[in-house]
Symmetry: D2
Subunit: 133 residues, 4 copies
C-alpha cells in the first residue's frame, strides 16, 4: 500500500475569509482531498468503494494552525497513513508553502453503514490493504 | 464574563455531502458561530473588535464525531469558555440533537495582527475579561 | 399554497471572503434556505419529499448583486413562488439589510430522479399544490 | 488579451450535497476559478491587482444547469471574456464532462472600492486591456 503522498493545491477565493486567510475549516477539506489522492495514487478508487457500500467517515479530526495561507497561494499537502486497524484508519497531514509549515493535522476514519452506524472493516479488504503494506 | 451559551442551528442543504450527512468540516464553522454568539450574549461584538484590529485566529481545533447530522436536522450547540490566558482563549463544544450527542470539540484561539503574526492579548482587554469572570 | 415568506439570516464568518463580503456564491445557498423555509411555512417538508423520491434540482439560477453584505450583518430574505408548472417551479428572491436592497434573484427548479434525469412532477402533487393556491 | 481559457477541475467530496451532486452554488465558485486562471494565463495577477486596490465584484451571475456532476468527476471549464467596458467585464462559461455539457454560465463583474461602491475601471488599466485585445 502506498502510505505517503504529496499534492499541490491553490487557495481559491471562495475559500478565504474576511481576515484574508484560508478559512480554518477548509484545512479539513484539504485533508480529505489528500486522503482521496493518496488512495488513488495507490490504485484505489474511493468513489467506487463508496458506491459498493463501504463508507469511511471522519471519527476524529484535529489541526494545528501555524501560519495562514492566502488567496492564490500554492500550498503543498503531504498525507501519510499512520495506522490501519479493523475499525479505523489514521492519517497525518502537513501543509506547507515554499517549505514553510502552515499546519499539521491528524484524522481517524471509521467505517459506517448508510445509517451512520460504525461497522468493522471487512477482513478481505483489511487483509488486502495489509498485504500491500 | 458569560462563559457558557447554547444556540440552535438547522442543517442547510448546502452543508450536507454525498453521504447525506453534515460534512465534517462544517462542524468547525458551527463552533465558530457558537463562539460569536457566546461573545455577543456576554455583551461583546466580535466584528467591532476585529474592526479595531484585534484578530483572533484558530491556533488548534479538534472534533470527535459520534453520530451524523442530516439535512434539516435542528441541532443544539453548547459553547463553553474553558481557559482565558494572555495569548490564548480555549473553548469546548457539544453538539446534540434531541439530547443525543453528535460531536464534541475543542479550539484554541490566539491573537494575531493583520500579517498573521501572534500577538499578546492587550492587558486592558484581558483584565476586563477577567474582571467579568 | 403559501407563496411568499420572509426570514432573517445572520452572515457567518465562514461565508465571507477576502474582500470582507458575503461571497457571491453564498447568495444561492441563502435562496435555497428561503425555498426550504417557504415550503415549511406552508406545511411542506422538503426532506420527507426527497426521502419519498421527489428530487427538485436547480435548473437555472441568477442573481443581481447591488450592495455587499458583511460578517455579522442580519439580512432579510423574501422568497416568492412566481410560477408552478408540470415540470418546473420558479421563485423570486429579494435580499435586504435595514430596508436596503442587497440582491435580487430568480431560480427555476425541475424534478429529477436519482440519476439526474428530468421527470414530470406527478399530477397528484401538482394538483394538490394548485388547489392550495 | 487572452480571451479564452480551459481548465480541468476534480469535484471534491466537500462540494457535493445530499443528492450526491456538485451543489449548484459551487458552479459559481468554479466560474471564479476560471476567471482567475484565464487572467493568469494572460499574464495577469488578480491577487496583486486586488492588493493594489482594484476590486472586481460580481454584479450579476447566472447559470443554466443541464446535467449533474458527481464526486470525483473531472470536469472541464471553458471561460471566455465576451465584453470589456469602462465599468464592467463579462464572461461566458461552459462546464463539460467527457464532452457532455453540464452547465453554461454568464457573469458581469464591476469595479468597487473597499466600501463596496461601484467605481469606473481606470482608463490606463482599461486601455492596456484593450490594447492587448
Amino acid at each position: 500500500m502506498l502510505t505517503e503522498h504529496e499534492i499541490e493545491l491553490r487557495v481559491r477565493y471562495s475559500e478565504t475569509d474576511a481576515m484574508g486567510f484560508l478559512h480554518h475549516s477548509r484545512f479539513f477539506s484539504y485533508f480529505e482531498i489528500g486522503r482521496t489522492e493518496l488512495f488513488r495514487a495507490g490504485g484505489g478508487d474511493y468513489r467506487a468503494m463508496e458506491d459498493g457500500g463501504l463508507l469511511l467517515v471522519v471519527v476524529k479530526a484535529e489541526c494545528k494552525f501555524r501560519s495562514p495561507a492566502r488567496y492564490d497561494d500554492v500550498v503543498t499537502l503531504r498525507t501519510k497513513i499512520v495506522r490501519v486497524g479493523p475499525v479505523k484508519l489514521e492519517h497525518d497531514y502537513e501543509l506547507t508553502r515554499d517549505g514553510k509549515l502552515l499546519a499539521t493535522g491528524h484524522t481517524v476514519l471509521g467505517r459506517v453503514d448508510r445509517e451512520g452506524i460504525v461497522q468493522r472493516i471487512p477482513d478481505e479488504i483489511l487483509s488486502s490493504i495489509q498485504e500491500q503494506e
